[in-house]
Amino acid sequence: MTSAAVQAPARGPKLPVRVESLVVLAVMTAAMVVFAPNFLSVNNLLNILLATAVIGVLAVGATFVISSAGLDLSLGSVLALTGVCGAALVVRLGLPWPFGILGCIGAGMLVGAVNGSLVALAKLPPFIVTLGMLSAARGLGFVLSDGRPIYGLPAELVFLGQGRPFGVPMPVIVFLAAVVVGHFVLSRTRFGRYTLVVGDNEQAARVTGIHVERHKIWLYVLAGAMSGLAGLLFMTRINAADPTAGVMYELQAITAVVIGGTNLFGGRGTVIGTLIGALIMGILQNGLNLMAVQPFYQQISIGVILVLAVWLDRSRAKGQAA
């Protein structure tokens, strides 16, 4: 300990985010301020956050699963299914509005428990399990809703999607709260540490007495719960539970997670990083919209950023190993 700390880059991360992510975010924001008309206004910044909120909530859950070397491709489908479940409880069965919230999140947790059990107990690859669930949950959402959106949500629920206390949209408040709590849990608690260790070296986790299977199940339940929360926000924002909602959202959420510096193969990840990743995507889309660039180019640019982010991460990891 007396020897000087010469290998500075080997030290544990002091910043919860990669410097590269912050640089990209800053450069992109600066570019938008210069080139995109009306980019820099409180209203527009709130718009960006609002547009990011639903994907962002999914991405918080995805950060945990991916940090543990897992994967959840069913997030978007589960979002739609949970909305249908929550809406069916209050609209079809006439239960009080809090059951809409419980229905969404509870349904998400149930689906997550199924995903988690198949991954942890049946030892099936997460890719396959959640790809199956992507299809099954979407189908179940159509069955439960007869393939039609469910309208007529009570005003209390609609407030969650459309309310603006102090001018800030409710989904933005929920999203930022999820980021703060998620970051705290992943970086400061035992649950978070075990999540990273399971993703880092599952055998090490096992021999030190961590209940790996139980932990994995909880991670998928958590991702399901976040899908339920996202489903709730989506449904209450458009004032209808749409069984076609959230198609491909899981890929956007995973993109935000990876751009944010979480290792797709587990062991390393932060929720603040995911927030940055989601903001990079949100700002890019918003800025290109303001510059009246065709939406097709947004998709191209997000794809490019994703690949660049992983490439950067790889070359940095190699530099460390050498």
């Binding site: 300990m1 000087a4 080997a10 544990g12 608690t189 035992r190 070296n201």
Partner: protein
Amino acid sequence: MTGALLDIRDLKKSFGPIEVLKGVSFEVAEGEVVALVGDNGAGKSTLMKIVTGVHLPDAGTVTFAGRPLPFGDPRRTRELGIEMIYQDLALAREQDVAANIFLGREPLRRMLGFLPIRVLDSHRMHDEAERIIAHLGARLPSTDYRVGSLSGGQQQSVAIARAITFQPKLVIMDEPTAALAVREVEHVLDLIRELKSRGIGVILISHRLPDVFAVADRMIALRQGVVAADVPAAETTMAEIVSHIVGAA
């Protein structure tokens, strides 16, 4: 027999059609260094993974400190005082030194000192990790380095620190010297002698017979799932042990 720290009786284990352990029995006393030698596939690792709770045996019992040892629960086994240092070290490379030493046993504190939410007590982990590493005489730059960035010998030190931090009664080491430089090997052998002097039992699994003979009180040779020899180290020779290992005796 009743005084033994660890008493392994007639352990059997098969993986599918392959009978890895065909009824293995031996004892380890307090402060005794027992070398477990044998060829690849002789069953050493499987035997030790049963003792640490990672694998379940098909038959047999293990008594530890006078009580039957529960199987299949690594956390409970560690709580009872059995630690194992794995050949691959079982470290989380992305986590720092302190996190690895306290893996599975992280001290917690109340959030902000009073809230009913429990968070990792980082200060305590780093303070105690520093103390234990200084005690080991290991050369580590700092406890907040990522383990993946350390050298092989340094990683070995972290694995050893993890095994001795919580006052174990028995330490099992799987090939602790295989990947080390000569000077580091001497360090590990010194540590084994120190554990012995503190009354801690040690099971040493190794292919490096010179290292084994330097510290072991007793030699147990495992061959094809059975104990081929169980002799005091002073009463045997390297050649004799080799012949037990390969089955030429």
